[in-house]
Each structure stands twice: as C-alpha cells, then as structure tokens.
Amino acid sequence: MSRFKDNSSKGTPAISTASLPDIIFMLLFFFMVTTVMREVDLLVKVTLPEATETTKLEDKALVDYIYIGPPQSKALGTEPLMQLNDQFAKIEEIDAWVKAGEERREEVLKPKITRSLKVDKETAMKIVTDVKQELRKSNALKINYSTAQGR
C-alpha cells in the first residue's frame, strides 16, 4: 500500500528536451526530401477548377506545363494569356515549345510526355480550344486538364 503513496509524493520529473533537436531534424529531413522547388514564376493567376474524377500524374519529369489565366500584373489587362516556361507566349509558339520539350528527353520517352494544362477556371474556352488545336498540330496528344481535388 505504502509503495503507491511513495511514488505520488515525489512529483513528476521534468521532461527531457534533449531529443527535441532530433525530432526537429527528422521533420526537417522529411520536408527537404519531399520539397519540389517551384521551377517557374507564375506570371498568370491560376485558380484551378475542381473535379472529382482525377488521375494523378505519375512521373513529374515527363510533364510540361501550360499556364493560362489573367496576368498577374494589372498593366497587362485582364484578358487571359498563356505562359510557357517562364514567359508569356503566343499560341503559335506552342509548336517550338513542344519540340524543345521533346529535345530534352530521350527518344523512347517522347510519346509519354504529358502536357498539363493549368487553366484558370474563369477563362473562356476559346483560348483553351486554340491551344488544343495547336497541340494536335504539333502531335502532342497526351494532355491533362489540371484540377484541384473537389469535395
């Protein structure tokens, strides 16, 4: 009986914080490994539409991005513009961009390249349709309508 009493009377010892740096380091390494630094600075505002039936893009190395949306800087107006790599581009420049993207990869991987369209949800379909037509002409047929996970 007395044993129990003895224990409680001593009070709780202070929790050792010696392992705190280790825990933090562990978190740090996790984030360091998972981090993908953003490759391009977005010049257009993109709020992705929501969808439920999405497929994850497996291999990030085989995805090229096309951004379409209203420009970030107000001086350029509100009409949606297209951004390839890190600059604005005209529709006609898609062909060269597709070719450049193919050049960077090995021959066997060329048909596996996906072009992911990151389009602002307020955008009118016209520019999207034009881009799609241009992609067809350049024989870049695998596309992805990038969406946010809905609901």
Binding site: T34, T35, E53, V119, M125, A140, L141, N144, S146, T147
Partner: protein, 243 residues
C-alpha cells in the same frame, strides 16, 4: 589563468541552440514546399487528319453534349441540368431499354470471336503486302482481346465502334463548366466500370492494379465493355448550330 583553462580541456559546444537552427531550416522548407501532386483529367487528343473524311455516323451513336456561352447544357437537343448528365451518359453507354435513339448494343459471344480469329488468321497469312497485313493483324488482336474479355466476363454486349460522346463548347464557355462536364462524363463511365468490376470480380475497379500482371487482363476487359469515348474532336462553333 591560461594554464588553468588548458587543464579543463576543450570546452564543450553548447548544443542548446541546435534545435533553434533546425527549427529555422524547418520553417523555411515548410514555407517553400508545394505539396501539390499534379492531378487532373487525362485526355488523348485525336491526331490531325490530312483529308477530312466525312464519316457517316448514325445519329443514335452520338451523344451530343453542347455547352453554350452562358454555360448552359444542351444534351441530345434537350436542355439539361449538369446533375443529370452523369445518368445520361450512363444510359447512353448501356442503353438498358434498347431504345432506338441510343446506340445498338451487340452481343459478343465466344463462338463468334473464335470464328473471327480464325478468319483473320488466314487473312494475315495470305496478306498481299505489309500494310494489309498490319491491318489484319490489328483486327486479329482486337478479336483476341474480345475473346479474353468474354472468357473473363461471360458474354457481354458491346458498344458500336463509332459510338461517341461528342462534347462541344462555345467560345465563351467557362473553363470551369467544361471541366465539370468532362468530370461528369468521366464519373459516369467510372461508375459503370465499378459496377461491372464489382459484379464480375467482386473487386473495385479502382483497386485493380495495372502493374499487376494478373489484373491487367481484367482491366482491359472492363475497358473494352465500357470504353472511354469522349471525343475531343474539331471544335465547332456552337452558336452557329441550331438546337
């Protein structure tokens, strides 16, 4: 003084600030991390055809979905709410009541597959040139796929090869609406596949693993019965079309 210090040995570095440094780095990475794994609706565009072939497509084989500039839906000539589109697409794919307005489904039987495989095998063997041989080989592969599907699923009814969901938008249709429509059509097809997979294999379609060799034929069979047929074809100005 100096002598005294030496005797004490090298002073230990205080590790108390280690946690702070690590915290600082941690916060930096936390802020810069973009955890977005890109996800979306995958589509395959049709290649450009040099000479536009005007195909004679039966009207019942096309499920026409039009979206106008005000984001309103016109499906098969009828105004429709987006919520009903999923059910509509499913009805088009299955044609449960054998309606004459929806595609005519055709039974695929093992006997027919075997007969066709035999036929095409002899064609491939006696093909005059490489081009013809390729064509016959493709048909042969198609029938062989059908045979495996029949073996796995039992006799099934197949959608005619030119049955298609045709999606057309106006030039001012919002992208949001477009994605919503695509999403609903995709959802309809997915639900059908899930149902079939549950019924025949007792497993969810989404749980079938396309890297697992045992699952690959199952996936192929289910896809054969309910193919992904959303056409990304030539844009047509909807506004010029009379409803």
């Amino acid at each position: 003084m100096l002598k005294k210090r030496k005797r004490e040995g090298v002073q230990e570095i205080n590790a108390g600030s280690m946690a702070d440094i690590a915290f600082l780095l941690l916060i930096f990475f936390l802020v810069t991390t973009t955890m977005d794994t890109d996800a979306g609706i995958l589509r395959l565009l049709p290649p450009v055809v040099e000479d536009e072939v005007i195909m004679d497509v039966n009207k019942r084989d096309v499920y026409e979905v039009l979206v106008n500039d005000a984001d309103m839906l016109l499906v098969e000539g009828q105004m429709m709410d987006i919520k009903e589109l999923r059910a509509g697409a499913k009805e088009f794919m299955t044609n449960p009541a054998n309606s004459v307005d929806l595609p005519e489904k055709r039974r695929v039987t093992a006997a027919e597959c075997q007969q066709k495989i035999g036929e095409f095998k002899s064609y491939v063997a006696s093909a005059a040139n490489a081009e013809a041989k390729d064509g016959f080989q493709k048909s042969l592969d198609k029938w062989e796929d059908k045979l495996t599907a029949v073996k796995l699923l039992g006799e099934f009814s197949e959608l005619p090869p030119n049955a298609v969901i045709s999606l057309q938008t106006g030039s001012k249709t919002s992208y949001d609406m477009y994605v919503k429509v695509q999403n609903e059509l995709e959802a309809g097809i997915r639900e059908l596949r899930e149902e079939l997979s549950k019924e025949k294999f007792g497993r969810k379609f989404s749980e079938l693993d396309d890297k697992n060799e045992e699952d690959q034929p199952l996936i192929k069979a289910v896809r054969l019965v309910y193919p992904q047929r959303v056409s990304e074809a030539e844009p047509v100005d909807v506004t010029k079309k009379k409803p």
